[in-house]
């Protein structure tokens, strides 16, 4: 094979050019479609399959169940590489987030073999794993015949690897020796402050340093900014999704825990002194500086308000700050980023994380081929392609974060994003106690928070009632 053709194919496989660019370059070299594909197959095998048979499942077809998300879009944009590398065909169904997990529950609970690989969060695996709906991927990771030697599992950020691994014993730490690897991280998000620099400059404000500071600055914005602009946007809907971002990161930073664990018995700790102190401040923040209709706010409304300049700052996923700073939004180019340590007595943030991960359905008929797909999607090459060419902006591999092209992209278009991430990362992990009633507990938690903000119940009383409710649910489930 001509060296130039070979190099071009290798460049495409490494994510260095688009499919269209590859086609153009090949055409320029006088190579037809069939020859280009041949070159590609050869280069793929040469580049990635030096001592691993990526073509072992050639001719098979995988079906993916995907959530509509920029991370899924990045995978879709690069599927041709996977197909060229392995000879495996990939089809997918993609659903909006509102209904996505209902689809997953329906597909898995009915033991359907329609889907081989699915996107999931770590919290969902606490239900899907014990229900035996997902494949434990630890045996694959330990099998040299099924895992490429250059896959580098340990190159994925340690806290993220651990977050997708659980033994199934309520209260037992994530990533323990007996844990099963229910999923593999694809991309994640952590929680810090994204703010409207234009507004902050105009009002001569600095990003908040801690929660009392956030209340003060947020209140000032609500009071003085005008045009209905309010201070701080955070989620507030009656959903588990209200609890896991900024709220739990702050809760943990104030030294509060969700459960006291004694053996396999879990006792709710949501009414501890630390929790009550933190919740009083959080409720005050929403009442004084939060969105007027906070109780209906999901991440979507939080993002919209930041992008449209309707709020001064958000305390939510850092990737929202990235997306809203991109062209097409009213405040594009005006978003700043700040690592946030809520407790004035603490030095390091304790950001909870949400991890979009990939799991294999227990009912898949192509489990080994599915593992090939997951290796590819969580591999180094795709991480760099997603980070540099797509919007996989919180990639899970350290190599991607250290990649000069990725860093350059962030520094040029999103100044401050990289630094805020670096400061938050050391303390970023899942801070919930793993147990199968996660959604039950956190949805009720969100409902209690709504009652406290609406002054239907005092913070002390609301948390005592919540603790009693959680203990009842745990007891009835035998935990």
């Amino acid at each position: 094979m001509n060296d130039k053709i070979k190099d071009t194919a290798k460049e495409w496989l490494a994510g260095g050019m688009s499919r269209r660019g590859f086609g153009k370059r090949m055409a320029g070299l006088g190579v037809g479609v069939a020859a280009a594909n041949f070159a590609l197959g050869g280069a793929a095998t040469e580049a990635l399959a030096a001592d691993f048979d990526w073509q072992a499942h050639k001719g098979k077809t995988l079906r993916l169940l995907l959530n509509k998300h920029p991370y899924a879009n990045a995978m879709i944009a690069d599927l041709a590489h996977f197909k060229a590398l392995t000879g495996i065909d990939v089809q997918y169904d993609i659903f909006p987030e509102d209904v996505y997990f209902d689809k997953v529950t329906a597909a898995l609970s009915s033991h359907s073999s329609r889907y081989d690989v699915l996107m999931t969060g770590a919290y969902q695996t606490w239900q899907y794993g014990p229900a035996k709906w997902l494949v434990d991927m630890k045996p694959y990771l330990q099998d040299a015949t099924k895992t490429a030697p250059n896959y580098d599992w340990n190159g994925i950020i340690a806290n993220l690897r651990a977050s997708d691994a659980w033994s199934g014993v309520p209260g037992e730490a994530l990533g323990s020796a007996s844990a099963k690897q229910w999923a593999v991280p694809l991309g994640f998000e952590l929680y810090n402050v994204s703010y409207n620099k234009r507004l902050f400059d105009k009002m001569k404000l600095e990003p908040p340093k801690n929660l009392p500071d956030m209340i003060e600055i947020g209140s000032k914005i609500t009071r003085d900014a005008g045009n209905g602009i309010y201070g701080v946007s955070v989620r507030g809907s009656r959903s588990w999704a209200t609890i896991h971002p900024g709220y739990l990161s702050t809760y943990t930073n104030y030294g509060a825990k969700d459960f006291d664990v004694s053996g396999t018995t879990l006792t709710s700790a949501v009414n501890s002194a630390q929790s009550k102190a933190m919740n009083k401040l959080w409720v005050e923040m929403i009442q004084k500086a939060g969105p007027p209709n906070w109780a209906t706010y999901t991440w979507y409304e939080v993002a919209q308000d930041l992008g449209a300049g309707r709020c001064g700052m958000i305390y939510d996923a850092n990737i929202i700050g990235f997306f809203e700073n991109s062209p097409g939004n009213k405040e594009s180019g005006h978003i700043g980023y700040s690592a946030f340590v809520p407790n004035p007595d603490m030095k390091q943030s304790t950001s909870n994380v949400w991890i979009w991960s990939l799991g294999i359905s227990s009912f898949s008929k192509e489990k080994d081929a599915s593992w090939y797909f997951i290796q590819w999607a969580s591999g180094k090459n795709f991480g760099i392609f997603g980070g540099v060419k797509q919007e996989l902006v919180d990639p899970v591999r350290e190599t991607t974060w250290k990649d000069p092209a990725f860093k350059e992209r962030l520094d040029n278009g999103y100044p401050g994003f990289y630094e805020a991430f670096e400061q938050s990362l050391p303390g970023a992990k899942i801070y919930f106690t793993p147990q199968p009633l996660f959604f039950n507990v956190t949805t009720e938690w969100a409902a209690s928070l709504q009652q406290m903000v609406a002054k239907q119940v005092s913070v002390d009383n609301g948390l005592d009632k919540l603790a009693a409710h959680i203990d009842r649910e745990m007891k009835s489930a035998g935990i």
Partner: protein, 309 residues
């Protein structure tokens, strides 16, 4: 020699009778198949409701008889759900009935303008309830929503629509009215236009006051239509899901945790199949009793208006 041998008519008659006997069963076969399609999931749900069955604890699945029902009936949260569902149903159906009847009376005359208006008023009915709730979520947003602006301009600042426990029920009932009043209106309008004209002409000739005509002639003659519309709307309102879930997911707090929401969250989020099925069984029982009451009322009315039948 037997009778059959001497009477050939007996020999040919037998297959004809068998075919005739089979015919009613063949004709009802499609209904039977549909019935099986309904009954299998129904009895499966009944069975689930008698089990401790959480999909996240597959090994803990076991038969507990009426345990789920006892848990429900001894729980304050469940009775709160019953009360909320009844309030939602009563408020939305009564208001829709009054509005629908009022609009139908206004559009009773067959003029071109009335026909155009009645078609235009049907538009909300063509919007899926979940979409309607998302539209209303935007329109009631305090920062940029048009309704929030209207309310603000009347001096009602700080009106938080669905995000305040005090006004959440009002907001979702308002959306329900917007979506479903046209259904009642069109049903009653069809009823009004099909009423015989003679009693009204006679009352007009005799100079009977309009209020008397309405309460003594129009309303009684329209009652079958009103009962039908009410039955349909009550059954639908007690099972409401889309509007409330799209707007508030049952919040703030527990202020809108209707039957279907509780059951949905228990199944899809909490994977508690047993409890979710028990809630649905209670909802089914309420729906069944309501339907029975209305159908009985309907039969009684028919018997009164046509005693010889």
């Amino acid at each position: 020699m037997s009778d059959i041998a001497t009477r050939p008519d007996l020999i040919v008659a037998k297959p004809v009778r068998r075919r005739a006997n089979l015919l009613p069963y063949l004709l009802s076969l499609p209904a039977l198949i549909v019935c099986i399609g309904v009954l299998i999931p129904f009895f499966t749900a009944v069975w689930y409701s008698l089990e401790a069955y959480n999909m996240a604890f597959p090994s803990g699945r076991h038969f507990i008889g009426i345990g789920n029902y006892i848990d429900l009936f001894t729980s304050g949260e469940f009775w709160h759900t019953v009360a909320l569902s009844m309030i939602y149903m009563a408020a939305s159906v009564i208001l829709e009935l009054l509005l629908g009847l009022g609009v139908a009376l206004l559009l009773r005359e067959r003029t071109k303008l009335n026909n155009v208006i009645s078609v235009a008023l049907l538009m909300p009915l063509m919007v899926a309830p979940i979409i309607a709730s998302l539209i209303w979520k935007l329109m009631t947003n305090p920062t940029f929503g048009v309704y929030a602006w209207v309310v603000d301009s009347f001096g009602l600042t700080g009106f938080h629509w669905a995000s305040s426990p005090g006004t959440a029920m009002f907001t979702v009932v308002l959306i329900d009215i917007w979506v479903n009043t046209p259904f009642i209106m069109i049903l009653l309008l069809a009823g009004l236009r099909s009423l015989p004209t003679q009693p009204f002409e006679a009352a007009k000739l005799d100079g009977v006051p309009a209020r008397f005509v309405f309460f003594r002639i129009t309303l009684p003659m329209l009652m079958p239509y009103i009962i039908t519309a009410t039955l349909f709307r009550m059954l639908s309102a007690i099972q409401e899901f889309s509007i409330v879930y799209g707007m508030t997911q049952g919040g703030p707090g527990n202020s809108l945790m209707l039957f279907q929401l509780r059951s949905y969250i228990d199944f899809y989020q909490n994977t508690n199949v047993g409890r979710s099925a028990a809630i649905l069984m209670v909802l089914w029982a309420i729906t069944f009793v309501l339907s029975k009451l209305f159908v009985n009322q309907w039969h009684a009315m028919r018997a009164r208006s046509n005693p010889g039948a």
